[in-house]
Symmetry: C2
Subunit: 85 residues, 2 copies
């Protein structure tokens, strides 16, 4: 039987085409530090949720619902959910 | 020959034991929305860098240097770098 709690790893990224001022700021700062090798920087969010349920399918649909209702702004952002022990 | 530029995927997370008020706020908000199945939430950053170089080893060491000098606060944060085409 599985002992450790389920972990959900959520990536939230801006959709392509959506301006990313935070990423541009990082790119500019890296350029200023001498890192000239960069074509583009995009900054997103990474959220790890530890869940009580042991049911992967239920966990996945639950976390996707969390993304849609709170974590991600689905108009401008994409999200992915990966489950893990 | 490889055509598409190299992408580096950087995850920056708080070290365990470091208080994560942002994660706690998300956890609280999710609880308020009726998601009661959560043990813990940790929020980190996810950065995608598109690089000019085609040399994976060079890219990895370069991105690790970026993390140490700008992207991560290595006193309280861990980072991982994954390369990808």
């Amino acid at each position: 039987m599985r002992r450790s709690p389920l972990k959900a790893k959520v990536h939230i990224t801006l959709k392509s085409g959506v301006l990313d001022p935070q990423g541009k700021a990082v790119e500019h700062a890296l350029g200023g530090l001498g890192f000239k090798d960069i074509i583009d920087v995009r900054q997103g969010k990474y959220i790890e949720l530890t869940l009580k349920t042991k049911d992967k399918a239920k966990a996945k649909s639950e976390v996707e619902k969390m993304c849609k209702t709170l974590l991600a702004n689905t108009i401008v952002e994409n999200f992915t959910v990966d489950l893990d022990e």
